[in-house]
C-alpha cells in the first residue's frame, strides 16, 4: 500500500467530513425562528439575554466566521452547553458513550456471526430448501423495524419465558443479560443485509473460472471453499460490515427507546424533541465522524486483504472503472 493511496483516502474522508460538519452547523440556522431565541430555549427572552447569547455565539458575524469558531471549539471538544440542562455537551455525551458502544459492539458481533455464515450456507446450498429457508428468515428480519422486533422479543423472552430482563441498563455486573435482547433487536436488519451481501459474493466467486478449474483438477472441496471462494468473497463482505455501522447507529435510537436504555440514541431523541440544538449538533457531528471513520477503515483494509486492489507503483494504471 503506497503512501499516496493512504493520503488520497484520508483527503477524501476529510472533505466529506468538512461537508457534513457545515451541514450540521447549518442546523441552527435551519431551525425555525431566530437562532438566538433557539439557543436561549424556554428561558425568558429579555433583550439583554438575547444580546448575551448573540455575543457568546458570535451570531452577529458572517456564517463562515461563526462556522470556523464553532468548528475550532468542536476540535477542542468544547461543544457548548445543553439548552435543557445547562450541562456541558461533551460531558453529557461522554457519560452515555459506554452503554451505546457496548450495545453497538454486541449488535455488530451478532450480525457478523449470524449473517456471514448464514450467507455462505445459503450460497453453497443455492436454490435448495436450506437456501429458501435462510432467505425467507432474512427477508422477515429485513422487514422488521428495530422497535417492532424489540417489542416482540420482550414479549416472548421476558414476559412469556422470563429468560432476560425486559427494561433498563442493569447495574455493574449484570449489564450483559440486559443487553442481549436489545442487541438482537438491533442486529436483525443488519444481519439480513450482511447475509444478502455474503450470499451474492460467494455465489459470484463459485461461478468464477479459477474455482471451476480447481474443481476440475481435483482440489479438495474444503480447500476450494476456504482458499478460493471465501478468500475472494472477503473484500465485499468486509466492505458491507463497514457500511452497516451507519445502520447500527440509527437502530440504537429506537432500541434504546424500547428497552429504556440511557444511551446516546435516547439522548438524541430527547434533544431533538426539546430542540436542544447544541446537543443535537454534537451528536450529529459524532455520528458523522464515526460513519466517515468506518468508511475510511474499510477503504484502507481492502488493499491489505486483496493484493489485486493494491495500487502498483510502477505498473501502468488501469483505466478507472466507470460503473
Amino acid at each position: 500500500m503506497t503512501a499516496r493511496y493512504v493520503l488520497r483516502r484520508l483527503g477524501g474522508t476529510l472533505v466529506l467530513l468538512l461537508v457534513l460538519s457545515v451541514a450540521v452547523f447549518a442546523l441552527l440556522q435551519a431551525a425555525p425562528g431566530d437562532p438566538a431565541r433557539t439557543l436561549l430555549g424556554p428561558r425568558n427572552a429579555t433583550p439583554d439575554a438575547l444580546a448575551a447569547v448573540r455575543a457568546r455565539h458570535h451570531l452577529d458575524q458572517p456564517f463562515a466566521v461563526q462556522y470556523l469558531r464553532w468548528a475550532g471549539d468542536a476540535l477542542r471538544l468544547d461543544l457548548g452547553t445543553s439548552i435543557r440542562t445547562g450541562a456541558s455537551v461533551s460531558a453529557t455525551i461522554g457519560g452515555r458513550l459506554a452503554l451505546t458502544g457496548q450495545l453497538v459492539g454486541l449488535g455488530l458481533a451478532i450480525a457478523v456471526l449470524l449473517g456471514v455464515p448464514g450467507g455462505v450456507l445459503a450460497a453453497l446450498r443455492r436454490y435448495r430448501a436450506t437456501d429458501r429457508a435462510v432467505q425467507t428468515a432474512s427477508l422477515i428480519a429485513l422487514s422488521t423495524p428495530a422497535f417492532a422486533g424489540g417489542l416482540v422479543l420482550i414479549y416472548v423472552f421476558s414476559l412469556m419465558l422470563g429468560w432476560f430482563p425486559a427494561y433498563g441498563p442493569g447495574t455493574g455486573g449484570d449489564r450483559l443479560p440486559h443487553l442481549v435482547l436489545p442487541a438482537v433487536a438491533l442486529a436483525l436488519g443488519v444481519t439480513a443485509v450482511l447475509l444478502k451481501l455474503t450470499r451474492a459474493a460467494v455465489i459470484r466467486e463459485l461461478d468464477k473460472e479459477h474455482v471451476v478449474f480447481a474443481r476440475a483438477r481435483g482440489v479438495a472441496e474444503r480447500r476450494i471453499l476456504v482458499h478460493y471462494v471465501l478468500r475472494g468473497a472477503l473484500v465485499p463482505v468486509l466492505t458491507g460490515v463497514g457500511l452497516v455501522v451507519a445502520y447500527l447507529l440509527a437502530g440504537t435510537v429506537m432500541v434504546e427507546q424500547v428497552f429504556a436504555l440511557p444511551g446516546l440514541g435516547s439522548l438524541l431523541v430527547d434533544s431533538v424533541t426539546y430542540r436542544d440544538v447544541p446537543l443535537v449538533q454534537a451528536e450529529a457531528l459524532l455520528i458523522a465522524v464515526l460513519v466517515c471513520l468506518a468508511g475510511l477503515l474499510t477503504d484502507l483494509a481492502q488493499p491489505l486483504i486483496d493484493p489485486r486492489l493494491r495500487p502498483a507503483a510502477d505498473a501502468p494504471r488501469r483505466p478507472k472503472e466507470r460503473r
Binding site: L16, L151, G189, A250, R275
Partner: protein
C-alpha cells in the same frame, strides 16, 4: 459439508416460473392492505370511539383484539391506521423514483460533468444514515409528517439514481440507440422514447423495495413521535403508546407491530419476485 461435486452447484432451475402460492398470497395481502388504507377510515368512522370503563381489556366481548387504555377498539384502530404509514411510504417510493429516473437518465445518457456531479451527490447521500438525518431534520425543522416524507424522498433517491444510471449506461451503446442517433433524433427523444422504457422493469422492482424500506423508516419516525400529529391513527404511534399494555393486553402493541412487518415483508417479497422474473427474461 456438502457432498463432493455438489458444492454450490445449482440443482435445476430456480423454481417454477409461474405464479407461486406465496406470491399469490402476497398479492392478496397487498390488496387487502391497499383497501384498508383507502377505505378503512371511511368504513369505520367510529374507530376512535372511547370507553374508559372498558380500558386495556384482553380480546373478547365484541373486541376482536381487545381495547387500549382509553377503551378504543384495537382491531378498528389498526385498520384505520393503515393509511398514514402506507400512503406516506408510497409517496416516498414514488417521489424517489421520479428523482432517480430524471437524474439517473441524465447522468447515464449525457455522461461527462453531469454524470460526475450526480454521482458525487448520490455518494454523499448514501454515506449518511438516512433515518438519523430524517430524525434530526424533522425534529429541528418543527416536525411533521410532510417534512419527514420529503426528507425520506431525498435520502431514498440515491438507490434509484444509481440503478437508472447503470441501466441507461447499459443501453447507451446498444445498436438501437446508435441507430436512433444516426437518424438524427434529438437527445430528449432518444432518452425518453428509446432508453427509458427499457429501464422500467428494474425501476419498478426497486420502487417496491424502496416502498418496503419506507414503511420501516416512516413507522420508526412515528414511533419516535415525529411522524403523524397526535390523535391520528398510525401503527408506529400505536405501538409506542401501547408499549406499557404488554402485560394487560399484549395485542394492543403486537397487532400494529405485526402489520408493519407484514406490509414490509409482502412488499419486499413482491419486489424480489419482479426482479427475479425480469432477470430470467433477460437471460432466455
Amino acid at each position: 459439508m456438502t457432498s463432493p461435486r455438489a458444492l454450490g452447484r445449482p440443482r435445476g432451475l430456480p423454481g417454477p416460473s409461474g405464479l407461486r402460492p406465496l406470491t399469490a398470497l402476497s398479492v392478496l395481502v397487498a390488496f387487502l392492505l391497499l383497501a384498508a388504507s383507502l377505505f378503512g377510515q371511511t368504513l369505520l368512522p367510529h374507530w376512535d370511539a372511547q370507553d374508559i370503563t372498558a380500558g386495556a381489556r384482553m380480546p373478547g366481548g365484541g373486541h376482536l383484539l381487545g381495547t387500549d387504555e382509553l377503551g378504543r377498539d384495537i382491531a378498528q384502530m389498526v385498520i384505520a391506521g393503515a393509511r398514514s404509514t402506507l400512503t406516506g411510504a408510497a409517496l416516498v417510493a414514488l417521489g424517489s423514483m421520479v428523482i432517480g429516473n430524471v437524474l439517473g437518465l441524465l447522468a447515464g445518457y449525457l455522461g461527462g460533468w453531469t454524470d460526475v456531479l450526480v454521482r458525487r451527490w448520490a455518494d454523499l447521500l448514501l454515506a449518511v444514515p438516512a433515518l438519523l438525518v430524517t430524525l434530526v431534520v424533522a425534529g429541528i425543522g418543527g416536525g411533521g409528517w410532510a417534512l419527514a416524507v420529503c426528507a425520506l424522498i431525498v435520502l431514498t433517491s440515491p438507490s434509484d439514481i444509481r440503478l437508472v444510471r447503470t441501466a441507461a449506461l447499459e443501453q447507451r451503446h446498444l445498436p438501437y440507440v446508435e441507430a436512433a442517433e444516426t437518424l438524427g433524433l434529438p437527445g430528449r427523444t432518444v432518452m425518453l422514447r428509446h432508453i427509458w422504457p427499457n429501464t422500467l422493469p428494474v425501476v419498478f422492482a426497486n420502487t417496491l423495495l424502496n416502498f418496503a424500506g419506507a414503511v420501516v423508516s416512516l413507522s420508526s419516525l412515528s414511533f419516535l413521535g415525529l411522524g403523524v400529529p397526535p390523535g391520528a391513527p398510525d401503527w408506529g404511534r400505536m405501538l409506542s403508546e401501547n408499549r406499557n399494555l404488554l402485560w394487560t393486553n399484549p395485542s394492543a402493541a403486537l397487532a400494529p407491530a405485526v402489520l408493519i412487518v407484514l406490509s414490509a415483508v409482502v412488499l419486499n417479497l413482491l419486489g424480489d419476485r419482479v426482479l427475479e422474473a425480469f432477470s430470467k427474461r433477460g437471460k432466455s
